[in-house]
Amino acid sequence: MTAALRAVVRRDLLLAWRRRSDVATAVLFFVIVVSLFPLAIGPEPNLLRAIAPGIIWVAALLACMLSLTRTFESDHADGTLDQMLLAATPLGMIVIARVLAHWVVSGLPLVILAPVLALQFDLEPDLLPLLVAALLLGTPVLSLVGAIGAALTLGLRGGGMLLALLVLPLYVPVLIIGAGALDAAAAGQSAHPHLLLLTALLVLAGAFAPWAISAALRISAE
């Protein structure tokens, strides 16, 4: 079973490498959206510092959306999804492997780039580790929840737009808690509760999303 999961993760990473322009598009989108705000608002340090967490999180949500549409679409079209549905390994495990690969390709780069981009907003250097920690806990939730939407909208016309309408509202708790962590720390309070809540969301999504994704994929094959 682990051999199958290793093969799936390896396949997805290899595919991402061979289509690296697609991956780069989502990451560059994140960089550009975040950079637009300091340019638009102007050099007003207090304002920039205040909006930084919110901007970075919203841009991360949108960048994640952008890469989600393709998660299952091409596998559905070329028949590889059928092979996964008929695999000797439980579908839930395969789904976890796929979401993990999606996160490594499109979530992890955002976590790494965020502290660099935060410099444009003059964010306190002490807050940067917290920003990374919050994103590290939050972005896997985005991948997990987003994959449910991607599986549900599989094979539908205009699926991309529908996916955004379906998934963005579900991202709201992550957005509020994630951005709130930095606001709390900037105000001199402890960000611990926020990080714990993000961890709870991650555990919850990790436990239930694979099941929901599998069910949605089975329906799409009928």
Binding site: R11, R19, S74, L86, A221, E222
Partner: protein, 208 residues
């Protein structure tokens, strides 16, 4: 042992077939024929468990496949209409993933031998994108040479886009599989000559 009882499938309001029943034992070949749109692919997908039949059931060794799930799928090799190949991966990489998913661990040398058997030895390191339609079909079918441990093969139009040499190769692989005591279900428009201990035909145009 695959048993089908009173199987019925619908597409929209149209009933594709109704009351279909048959049993496949070791060494049995089932050929499904019928006009385009007569429900051949739907029947095969129902046999795999991808499609929920409107009525009836498919049983594997006496148990409904809906309950068996992975226990059934680890005995099954399904090659569908679509080739299930990723354009960006090479034929070799595609086969390795397919084998890992079906739970058959095969060494690299066997994958190469399987591709050589289908005349793709020199093209095995090319991305599938660079292969012709027929070569892609060959790459997909090369999997058959690697899954002789799986007792049930379900093949949807295996001979489409194949030339005479590749067709013979598939026929001999299926023949050897049946001689080993395997089972095979396939749909085809071509006149395929396969040596089978016992062969049944189902024509979906004239339901029995």
């Amino acid at each position: 042992m695959l048993e089908v009882r009173a199987l019925e499938a619908t597409r929209g309001d149209v009933t594709l077939f109704r009351g279909l029943g048959f049993t496949l034992g070791p060494g049995a070949l089932l050929r499904v024929t019928g006009a385009n749109g007569s429900g051949k692919t739907s029947l095969l997908r129902a046999l795999c468990g991808l499609l929920l039949p409107a009525a009836g059931e498919v049983r594997w060794k006496g148990e409904n496949i809906r309950r068996l799930r992975e226990e059934y799928w680890k005995h099954l090799a399904y090659i569908g209409h679509a080739n299930a190949l990723k354009d960006e991966l090479t034929a070799e990489e595609n086969l390795a993933v397919a084998c890992a998913l079906s739970g058959t661990a095969v060494p690299h040398s066997r994958i190469r031998a399987a591709l050589e058997g289908f005349g793709l030895g020199e093209r095995r390191r090319l991305p599938v994108r660079a292969l012709s339609q027929g070569q892609r079909r060959r790459a997909a079918l090369a999997r058959l040479a690697l899954c002789e441990t799986l007792p049930l093969w379900i093949l949807d139009e295996p001979f489409a886009a194949l030339d005479a040499a590749a067709m013979r190769q598939v026929q001999s692989l299926v023949g050897a599989h049946l001689a080993r005591g395997g089972m095979a279900v396939l749909t085809t428009h071509q006149e395929a000559r396969i040596e089978a201990p016992s062969a049944t035909d189902i024509n979906l145009d004239r339901p029995s």
